[in-house]
Symmetry: C2
Subunit: 328 residues, 2 copies
DNA sequence: TCAAAAGTGTTATCCTTACACCCATGT
DNA sequence: ACATGGGTGTAAGGATAACACTTTTGA
């Protein structure tokens, strides 16, 4: 009899709060009821008898676990590598001996409502990927990563060293290479491969790798199992999709100001945008419509409120928003 | 004890032959050794004990089944809907009672070599999606689909009818809506939902839906299980990826002419391109380099041979090729 | 000599980028 | 009055789309 397979579903649930991109995290409890040290994504087993599709199963267990309803949902990727799953508590009784395969999903919700569910909280992306936020210019933590990555590259010889250096350069914008905000997974995987992400040591069965506190802060907080990999996949997908589908609006309330929209796009893509060019590009898409009402709580001059013209989606093919960079 | 899960791996293996996009298909045999009526994709069970990752398992069984080595490989999607899998012969003994989940992969190879494997052949996309080929202008089969889709839309009432019509219009470029070559899956799923794809009747347990021969030809040849859905996903992914990653070159030989490259891009995207604008855009990318050698077998004036500068990939972030449409 | 396919020049238009400036409100 | 954020005009440069034309081979 061959080893049995268990499918786990994980959800990256994204919302914008105060101009920050947030993700819903949990601290699962072990059999003894102790909450985990590490954060994880909401996840649960897929029961083939109970559910007709993955998506239905996902919606059901997320509602049950975090007490809230998902809107926009899309499948990300299926992870099946042995040695990178670390089977965890609530996967059911069979999970211990079985091979766990996890199917990751991305979900977008318009507001970071309080969940009132135990062990559940909203966390900022940057807790897990501090180096991904370039809104305030090149993040300082990159200097620490650069040193560590160069050391890793030089630890091998010949062509391999050159290859490692080239990859690090491209991924982390070293030596004046341009920053590409989309390659989130590539960066995380490079940190994992270089042994800088704490998950790497853990998956090899070693105790916590001895790294400086400074480096640990630059690499970001680790997560349970392969959840940070799923999170990186989600951020990558979202950053890419932003540009060719109007998905930001799934994260906005009914009425919003153009500045709030721009801040949402910036929070997700992690780069600062040029205000006027952003607006001009938005105008061309005809995806939003002024409501004539004003929002007085902006600090300065009141801003006009806009709404997403959802009807455009069924009128003609629409692309996403362009990212007119603000060069700093 | 809960129902067990079996994971199946399916591969969409693409190559260009004589300017046509081809996909490797098989005709699996049942227990009695009879070859299936319908074509399918190369597929096999994932054995969690034998393989560390999906990709390794995929490469192993494809080599064993079709006698050839895969190059570029990427995961497409994981399909788990009950009622759309139709478990088939070589999934192993446990498959009958189990829930089958299939993970689809896309693979690109530079030449459509003869496989010399039994029950294996190269098929053109258009066998399965005749309406996707707009290289020679709007395909005639669309007229038949249009009639059938309008009938389907009108078969429901009120908002639902309007919704169906809007979706059909967008997906199939009816009423002068622009053709969007990327939405391959959306089109196939619409045909499935409308009951026009033979797979729909089969999955409902009905015998072959009684449709005219003309309509059957317009909808395209059905495949085993959910393989045509996986194929549609692959074509969609490939058409999209073409534009933002230089993947066409995975399908080209070492040396090629610019016309051959253009024909390859046209074969995949299914739209005719403007020759000079295609070349100018290509030139800007600096992704190819003239070899100074000529290809004499072009019929007219000999064409210069070019090569893909693979080293560009590690030099800086590169995007794919633009599709400068040739309006007809 | 003619068909067939390769390869080039040039222009109008649109989009992107980058600049600097004015407006309405609260304190 | 002034700080704060909202909102606008305009000009340069580059990419795109659309023209039509020349060149080199094989039959």
């Amino acid at each position: 009899m061959s080893q049995s397979i268990v499918i786990g579903l994980s959800a990256v649930i994204v919302a914008i709060r105060d101009g920050e991109a947030m993700v819903l995290t949990v601290r699962p409890r072990d059999a003894a009821g102790r909450a985990s040290e590490l954060a994880g994504l909401p996840f649960g087993p897929f029961d083939p008898q109970a559910h007709r599709t993955f998506e239905l199963a996902l919606r059901a267990f997320v509602t049950q676990q975090t007490r809230f309803e998902l809107g926009y949902v899309e499948q990300l990727y299926t992870f099946g590598d042995r040695g990178r799953e670390a089977p965890v508590a609530n996967m059911g009784p069979d999970a211990a001996a079985a091979r766990v395969v996890s199917v990751g999903y991305l979900a977008l919700t318009p507001a970071a409502v309080e969940t009132h569910a135990p062990d559940t909280e909203w966390s900022s992306w940057s807790r897990f990927f501090p180096y991904e936020d370039w809104r305030g210019g090149r993040p300082r933590v990159l200097a620490v990563l650069e040193t560590a990555l160069r050391r890793w590259a030089c630890a091998s010889r010949g062509a391999e060293a050159a290859n490692r250096l080239a990859r690090a350069r491209l991924a982390f914008a070293l030596d004046d290479a341009p920053w590409n905000e989309e390659r989130v997974l590539e960066r995380y995987e490079l940190l994992y491969e270089a042994g800088l992400a704490p998950e790497a040591a853990r998956d090899r069965g070693e105790s916590c790798g001895a790294v400086s506190e400074e480096l640990a802060a630059a690499v970001g907080e680790p997560m349970i199992s392969d959840h940070r990999r799923i999170l990186a996949t989600a951020l990558q997908r979202l950053r890419g999709k932003l540009k060719y589908r109007p998905v930001v609006f799934e994260l906005m309330p009914e009425a919003f100001t153009l500045s709030a929209l721009q801040r949402a796009v910036e929070a997700i893509s992690g780069v600062p945008l040029h205000k006027q060019n952003f607006r001009r590009a938005l105008e061309r898409t005809a995806l939003v419509e002024g409501l004539g009402r004003l929002d007085a709580d902006t600090g300065g001059r009141p801003a006009e409120l806009f709404r997403f013209r959802r009807e455009m989606l069924s009128a003609r093919p629409v692309s996403g928003l362009s990212l007119p960079l603000l060069r700093d």
